[in-house]
Structure formats: structure tokens, C-alpha cells
């Protein structure tokens, strides 16, 4: 009877304090009917993976504007896999140069959204890519 809700963890790995983008995305996903667990700033890869596990999310969304994406995002993808959460969709946004995107996808990040992306595009990507049971 109840529809299955898409659950998304939105987290900011690393040390930068730019949280506007993460909040804008969190709100857009809520307005699209998703349940967004917002964990806030300065999350370590282990914190993100443990939250994703406890919350049993379908999607992990990472916002990073510090320039440390190559150091942090692949580790998070790797640890999610090790925690038996390979099925989780991983999306990222923030300041990520185009030349890094291929390597990130190789490392298991499913999509990267740069500044100026309309939030509807993010919503569409998630709704079409979340594995429904």
C-alpha cells in the first residue's frame, strides 16, 4: 500500500564549510518526495559509510568544494563496497574539474554534478537509477 520512498544520505566529506549546495540539493530531493538524511559538515569516510548503513539508504550524495575530491570520494566508494553496500548509488557535486570525472567514475562514483546543474536534473538521475526492488 505505501509507496517505497527513496532514502538519500547527503554528507559533506572533508573540511570545507561550503554547505549551500548540499542544502539546496537536500531540499530539492525532499521536494521530489525523497527522504533525505542530512548529516552536515566534516564527515569522515567512515562516518559516511556507517550512517549509510544504519539508515539503509538507496543513495549516498557527497558535496565537496574543497578540492580534496580525488583523495576522499574513491575511499568512500571503496568502503561502501566493503560494507556490503555496492548497490548504493553514489552521486557527487561541488567544485570538481571535468578532467577528474572519468577517474571518479572509474572509482565507483555514479555521477558528478557541477555548479549550475539544475536540481531537476539531479532528481531525474536519481529516480531513474535507483534500483527498485
Amino acid at each position: 500500500m505505501p509507496e517505497r520512498k527513496i532514502r538519500v544520505l547527503v554528507a559533506k566529506p572533508g573540511l570545507d564549510g561550503h554547505d549551500r549546495g548540499a542544502k539546496v540539493v537536500a531540499r530539492a530531493l525532499r521536494d521530489a518526495g525523497m527522504e533525505v538524511i542530512y548529516t552536515g559538515l566534516r564527515q569522515t569516510p567512515d562516518m559516511i559509510v556507517e550512517s549509510a548503513l544504519q539508515e539503509d539508504v538507496d543513495v549516498v550524495g557527497l558535496s565537496i568544494l574543497s578540492g580534496a575530491h580525488m583523495a576522499l570520494l574513491p575511499i568512500i566508494a571503496q568502503k561502501l563496497k566493503e560494507a556490503d553496500m555496492a548497490h548504493v548509488l553514489i552521486v557527487a557535486g561541488g567544485i570538481i574539474p571535468d578532467e577528474d570525472i572519468a577517474a571518479l567514475k572509474e572509482a565507483g562514483i555514479d555521477a558528478v554534478f557541477n555548479p549550475g546543474t539544475p536540481t531537476q536534473e539531479i532528481v531525474n538521475f536519481i529516480t531513474t537509477h535507483v534500483a527498485t526492488e
Binding site: G40, M47, Q54, E55
Partner: protein
């Protein structure tokens, strides 16, 4: 291995998955929960409620840290409201609980209210059973920021904390709130702010005026009157309804609060009220389930179109709601 078997071994992935099944009313959930049920009834269930922004999550964070220091394990269920417009939700309570990360003796689950109006989510009761069966010693349940009527937590927890904070409008406003009647322990949080003593004093005056209900939630249902012992006028309560001041952001007053929570549990056990509360919560839960299931069955056997036909007649006033009920039941 079934999910229930894994939950009994405290496997975190299985705990998380079963709670998702509960939230989505997945067809497999009921059988798993039925397997777990004999293993429940051990955890101390502590509710944390109060107006939005009073510091419930910050306090839950401090409580969990302090209770972990005593060696007990803690599960946390944090409920935030679902947007009535989109059906989505932003669940932000974890922001205040980052210090609990990395401790395997803590498990935090955020839940959206999904249309429940009582301050909790429909799945909370079953999620509690999952944590209870998994062996957590205490389950802390943070309700949505509530106003006056959202008192489901009183039917759900053994010990209810009502959190107030100074400077939330005038004191009378804070105090006429119906949630005061469900408190076992009052917390005036943000004691670092001016007005905390005034809020505490106003609460004290309020309590001295009215006799608290002794924690017996009166439920407008039939089942609860099937009490273990004939209902007698509530005996003079020997619980003192403490009012405690805390500053959650600095951890001040939290040790005393934790001692008081344990003291309340001891009081419930010694006085026999724990058994009463457990009986009452099982009865309330059974009643809820019956309501849902009876309605579901009735609607399932009502022929297509009948319902909208009846509603059409109600609109035209050619049928009364009273007769409509009989019509549907006797169809």
C-alpha cells in the same frame, strides 16, 4: 539466515534492512517481526519530546554518550516530520549526534513521520522491537518537535522526558501545552541562557497546581479498560516529577539527568508500574493494529465504486454518516 536471525545476532545491516521493510510495509516484515517478538521486552524505552528546537537531539547525543559510559548499549530512533506537500522529508537530527560515530554500541536510525500525527512514525513501535530483540539495553526515541496534541510517545515509552527551553515565547504558552501531562521527567535545556530559572519555576508552580496523571495515559479506546487489575482511582503517586536543568551543548546537568532516568526505571519496576505500562502499551498497539487491519479488510471486500457512491450520497445529504457506517459493515 533470515533477517530475524541476523538481528538476534546484532548484525547492523540486517537491523537497518528490517526497519526499512517495516517503513515500507514490505510483505516479509510481519513474519520476521513475529520471530523477534518473544525476544523483546528487555530494553528500557526512553522518549524525548518537546517543542521544535529545544535541544532534543543535542540532549540525546549527550545522553547516549553518558549511558555508553555506564557500559549499556543504546539505539536511537529520531523522528522528523514528513512534508505534507511533497511526501519527502529532511531528517537532520544526526547533525547533532556526530560524536556518537564510530561506537558500535550505538545505532542511530532517522525516521520520517510519513503522515502520522502523533509525533512519531507508524513504524516506530516495530523498530523499537527490532532494537530490543537485537539486545540494545536502551532505546532513545526523539519525537518530532511537538506542540500540544502529539502525545503518542506516552503510549510508547517507559520514561518520557519533556524538554523545554527558556525564551520560547511567554511561559504560559509553554506550560499550557498538553505534553506536560505526559512527562515523567522535565528538562529545562539551554540553562546557559537567561530565563532558565524562571522557566523551571513556572513548571514547578504548574506541577504543584495540578496533580499529574501519574503517567497513566487515558486512551479513548476500549481495550485499555481491560486492565490487569480493576481500575482504581490512581494511588497517590510516589514519583516526584523532577525538573532538571541542562546545557546540552556543554554536557552540563546530563549526569544527573541520566541518574534520574535510571531512578525512574527503578521506580517503575519497584512499584509494579512497569508491568502496567507494558500491558497498556501492548494493548494500545493491538488496538492500533486491529483498527488498521479491520479497515483494510473492510475496504478490500467493499465492491469497487460503492465507497464513492456512498460518499456521493453523504454530499447530497440523502444518507447520513451514521447509516453509512452500518451500510458498509453489513454490505
Amino acid at each position: 539466515m533470515t533477517l530475524a536471525e541476523q538481528v538476534l545476532q546484532n548484525r547492523r545491516r540486517a537491523i537497518a534492512r528490517l526497519i526499512t521493510y517495516i517503513e515500507n510495509e514490505h510483505p516479509a516484515a510481519q513474519a520476521e517481526l513475529a520471530t523477534l517478538f518473544p525476544h523483546t521486552g528487555r530494553a528500557h524505552l526512553v522518549g524525548v519530546t518537546g517543542a521544535p528546537g529545544t535541544g532534543k537531539s543535542s540532549l540525546v547525543n549527550e545522553l547516549a554518550k553518558g549511558i555508553r559510559a555506564t557500559g549499556k548499549t543504546v539505539a536511537i530512533i529520531a523522528v522528523d516530520p514528513t512534508s505534507p506537500f511533497s511526501g519527502g522529508a529532511i531528517l537532520g537530527d544526526r547533525i547533532r549526534m556526530r560524536e556518537l560515530a564510530g561506537d558500535r554500541g550505538v545505532f542511530i536510525r532517522s525516521m520520517a513521520s510519513r503522515g502520522s500525527l502523533g509525533g512519531l512514525a507508524r513504524g516506530v513501535y516495530d523498530a523499537i522491537n527490532v532494537f530490543d530483540a537485537a539486545g540494545f539495553d536502551m532505546v532513545l526515541i526523539e519525537t518530532v518537535g511537538v506542540g500540544q496534541g502529539e502525545v503518542d510517545i506516552a503510549r510508547t515509552a517507559h520514561t518520557v522526558l519533556v524538554v523545554e527551553a527558556p525564551g520560547l515565547g511567554d511561559d504560559i504558552q509553554a506550560i499550557k501545552a498538553g505534553i506536560l501531562e505526559i512527562a515523567d521527567i522535565f528538562v529545562v535545556n539551554k540553562a546557559d541562557k537567561p530565563g532558565a530559572n524562571k522557566t523551571a519555576a513556572a513548571l514547578r508552580a504548574m506541577l504543584d497546581l495540578g496533580n499529574p496523571t501519574g503517567g497513566q495515559m487515558l486512551h479513548h479506546g476500549v481495550l485499555l479498560s481491560v486492565a490487569a487489575t480493576p481500575p482504581s482511582p490512581a494511588p497517590p503517586s510516589d514519583w516526584d516529577y523532577p525538573i532538571l536543568k541542562t546545557t546540552a551543548t556543554a554536557g552540563d546537568g546530563v549526569d544527573t539527568l541520566i541518574e534520574t532516568i535510571f531512578r525512574h526505571h527503578h521506580h517503575l519496576t519497584q512499584s509494579g508500574k512497569l508491568a502496567d505500562r507494558n500491558r497498556a502499551r501492548l494493548a494500545a498497539d493491538l488496538e492500533n493494529r486491529l483498527q488498521t487491519e479491520l479497515l483494510r479488510r473492510l475496504l478490500a471486500r467493499t465492491p469497487n465504486g460503492t465507497l464513492s457512491e456512498i460518499i456521493g450520497k453523504l454530499v447530497k445529504r440523502t444518507l447520513s454518516p451514521y447509516n453509512a457506517v452500518h451500510l458498509l459493515l453489513e454490505e
